[in-house]
Amino acid sequence: MSTHESTEHVSEHDQSHLDIHHKIAHEKEFKQQIVSFIMMIFITMLAFVAVASDAISDSFTVIFIMILAGIQLVFQLYMFMHLSHKGHQYPAWGIFFGVFVAGTCVVALMGMIW
């Protein structure tokens, strides 16, 4: 990676279009992404520990890990895929309509097979 950086042609001068507000915004976003990632690692570990330990009842574990998966979905969509950013109204409609149909589909299939 560092060898790539040294051959990089984009100099400070080329970056001049990025005003100081932009730079602050990007640094803030970078920090948010790192925090999100650490949170996601933590949530993942929590899910694995909940399953590995015998202290928690099975039915509660299932609900618990499904909630954790839902939280991770929100993290991915809003932090990593920038769904919260400006100009994402239509994408949000598209993906949430997909999620709605997906939920209906899962419930219907489970019900039909049983």
């Binding site: 984009v10 990593f80 997909g98 999620v99 899962v106």
Partner: protein, 204 residues
């Protein structure tokens, strides 16, 4: 001329042209459709997960450490593609390529683990596509995700290969941005696979 373009790259280069806007919107709608594709496989899996046909059960088969490592690999690759997107938005082409290479390598490692896992299940446990309804549902669901990872690796390899010398402009920015979206989506699907298939398979 290109250097001039680069210095004038707008704040959201992936959506600065009509072409970019259309790709961006169309790709999100595609991801909505992909969500439904995977939902159909998840629904079938949940219906058939106890239909073991007298063979090995999910509790006997799955090993959590392997799944945990695979999860960490894919989660980390999601972060590296976030770094690539940030490099894209700040007009650092080489840095973006570097992060996408790391993303692809992590994806390859994930794929290697999955191949090892499937091979292990088939040869050590006789858990195959034909052995039970659960086997069919398992390999279809997890295999479709694995096929998406494979497609993603081929996609980014071709993108890098083809646009390496072109650099960052309003033509390449949407292409790389969409790959990052796709890769996050793959990670979202994996979150539900490790939860619904592996963790719930261990709980019973």
């Amino acid at each position: 001329m290109r250097a001039e373009e680069m210095s004038k790259l707008p704040a959201n280069p992936e959506r600065a042209t009509l072409d970019g806007k259309n790709k961006f919107l169309g790709f999100w709608f595609f991801l909505g459709g992909e969500t439904v594709l995977f939902a159909s496989l998840f629904g079938v899996y949940l219906g058939l997960r106890n239909a073991t046909n007298g063979g090995v059960t999910s509790n006997e088969l799955f090993e959590l450490p392997l799944v945990f490592i695979a999860t960490m690999l894919l989660l980390t690759s999601s972060l590296t593609s976030v770094f690539a997107t940030m490099a894209l938005k700040t007009n650092h082409f080489k840095r973006m390529i570097g992060w996408f290479v790391v993303t692809a390598l992590l994806g390859l490692a994930f794929l290697g683990l999955e191949i090892y896992e499937f091979n292990h299940y088939v040869h050590e446990y006789g858990h195959t596509m034909q052995s039970s309804a659960w086997g069919s549902a398992f390999y279809t669901l997890v295999g479709t995700h694995g096929a998406h990872v494979t497609a993603g690796i081929i996609w980014i390899a071709l993108l890098i290969f083809r646009n390496m010398r072109r650099g960052m402009d309003l033509y390449t920015a949407p292409k790389f941005y969409l790959f990052a979206l796709y890769w996050h989506f793959i990670d979202v699907v994996w979150i539900f696979i490790f939860t619904v298939v592996y963790l719930m398979g261990k709980v019973g």
